[in-house]
């Protein structure tokens, strides 16, 4: 009887030790996967926010310094006042024009808010994983699918940014207007200034578009790696997971401003990685227009 009790104590202690060891190990893995999801979220949200500003800068020009805004308003009001009186409605209209850029930026941010929120939700769905949630397995399975979908969306954005680069329309229009005025007035200095501005605008346009595509490609890379970690969560060792995580954290920010073709080459590599995983095929076959899955975070 006593022997049997002793056996039970040994068995219980052994089981407890094994569980503790396993628990510690699982926690490390959970932390690594959680960090990978957060890195993906950060890359994606940063890329989207950058693109929001780029689009508004293209259509309505960059944010002007206050002094420039004052000069533009002054010039406009002086022009209106020539030979007459400036009406209050005209003044109100001219003043309201200074708010347009902010209003449009807010509009664009609102339109993309759901997309940004999806990446935040992706990371949040794994936030409690290290606490050893009973639903951890389900959470990992669901977030793998969600991660694939969100990586696909980033790939679409990378393609769109490369295929249809944002054009600096306002800035070019202003410089061309200045050029025409200067040519008409035979003002060589002003013509030169306008030409310099045209060259600078073209450079800035190319640089900023290449940076935007690279940022989306970075997010695709982080997403692909997070999916790979999540996909083999149950099989990988802690070292494997940490090594994978380090790769995500090391994704170069130095790609910004380089040729966007290189970013697209990276994109192709990472997309192929997802395509080559047979288990991900059913997820990839769901049209992108379908709603994103929602993972329970309890």
């Amino acid at each position: 009887m006593r022997e049997r009790t002793l056996m039970r104590v040994w068995y219980g202690t052994g089981l407890l030790l094994a569980l503790l060891l396993l628990g510690g190990c699982t926690k490390e893995k959970a932390l690594a996967l959680k960090a990978a999801a957060e890195a993906f979220r950060d890359r994606a949200v940063t890329a989207i926010e950058n693109y929001e500003t780029l689009m508004v800068n293209g259509a309505l020009g960059p944010q002007q310094p206050e002094a420039q805004e004052f000069q533009d308003l002054l010039a406009g009001l002086k022009g209106l006042g020539v030979g007459g009186v400036v009406k209050q409605a005209d003044v109100q209209s001219a003043l309201a024009a200074t708010d347009v850029r902010e209003r449009e930026l807010e509009f664009v941010r609102t339109q993309l808010a759901d997309l940004r929120a999806a990446y935040v939700a992706f990371a949040a769905s794994l936030a409690r994983l290290p606490e050893g949630s009973l639903l951890a397995g389900d959470a990992v399975a669901c977030t793998t699918g969600l991660g694939v979908r969100l990586t696909q969306r980033m790939a679409v954005l990378a393609e769109a940014s490369q295929a249809a680069p944002v054009r600096y329309q306002y800035r070019f229009g202003k410089a061309v207007g200045e050029l025409n005025r200067s040519l008409k007035a035979n003002n060589d200095d002003a013509v030169q200034r306008a030409v310099v501005e045209l060259i600078e605008t073209r450079k800035a346009e190319r640089r900023d578009n290449a940076a935007a595509t690279s940022m989306f490609a970075d997010a695709v890379e982080a997403g692909t790696r997070a999916v790979a970690l999540s996909r083999s969560y149950g099989e990988l060792s802690v070292e494997d997971l940490l090594s994978g995580l380090n790769h995500i954290l090391e994704i170069r920010a130095s790609t910004f401003g380089t040729d966007s073709t290189k970013a697209m080459e990276r994109l192709t590599t990472y997309r192929k990685q997802l395509e080559d995983d047979p288990a991900l095929k059913p997820i990839l076959s769901v049209p992108l227009t379908s709603p994103l899955p929602v993972c329970k975070t309890q």
């Binding site: 689009m55 508004v56 259509a59 309505l60 010039a75 406009g76 002086k78 022009g79 209106l80 020539v82 005209d90 209209s93 001219a94 024009a97 347009v100 449009e104 509009f107 664009v108 339109q111 993309l112 696909q152 790939a155 679409v156 954005l157 393609e159 769109a160 295929a163 249809a164 944002v166 054009r167 329309q169 306002y170 070019f172 229009g173 202003k174 061309v176 207007g177 200045e178 025409n180 005025r181 997309r271 997802l274 395509e275 990839l284 076959s285 769901v286 049209p287 992108l288 227009t289």
Partner: protein, 104 residues
């Protein structure tokens, strides 16, 4: 990845580019105009820029937004803006562009 929008729909891309070309023409006329005319054109330009941004945003989402007919219409409006002989005609051209982009 055949199910991803691997390449953007041609008409969508052409639509955004045609709308941007029309906005280019508006800006060109706007920055060449005198202050009084600029004040008349400004609200139209802002709404046209809003339309271009909306079209661009749709380009980022899955699915098709434009038809070949829409693209032809945008190109026709751009030609009207280019040939506008007065500020009134410019405002009219801008209004047509805004109306076209409001469909998306």
């Amino acid at each position: 990845m055949p199910t991803t929008k691997a390449t953007l729909a041609d008409d969508d891309l052409a639509m955004v580019q045609a709308a941007e070309a029309a906005l280019d023409s508006l800006y060109e006329q706007y920055f060449g105009a005198i202050a009084k005319d600029q004040l008349l054109l400004k609200p139209q330009i802002e709404q046209a820029a809003h339309g271009v941004l909306k079209a661009r945003l749709l380009l980022l989402a899955p699915g098709t937004i434009a038809s070949a007919g829409d693209v032809r219409e945008a190109n026709r409006i751009k030609a009207e803006i280019d040939q506008a002989a007065s500020t009134q005609e410019l405002v009219l051209g801008a209004a047509k562009l805004i109306s076209l982009l409001a469909r998306f």
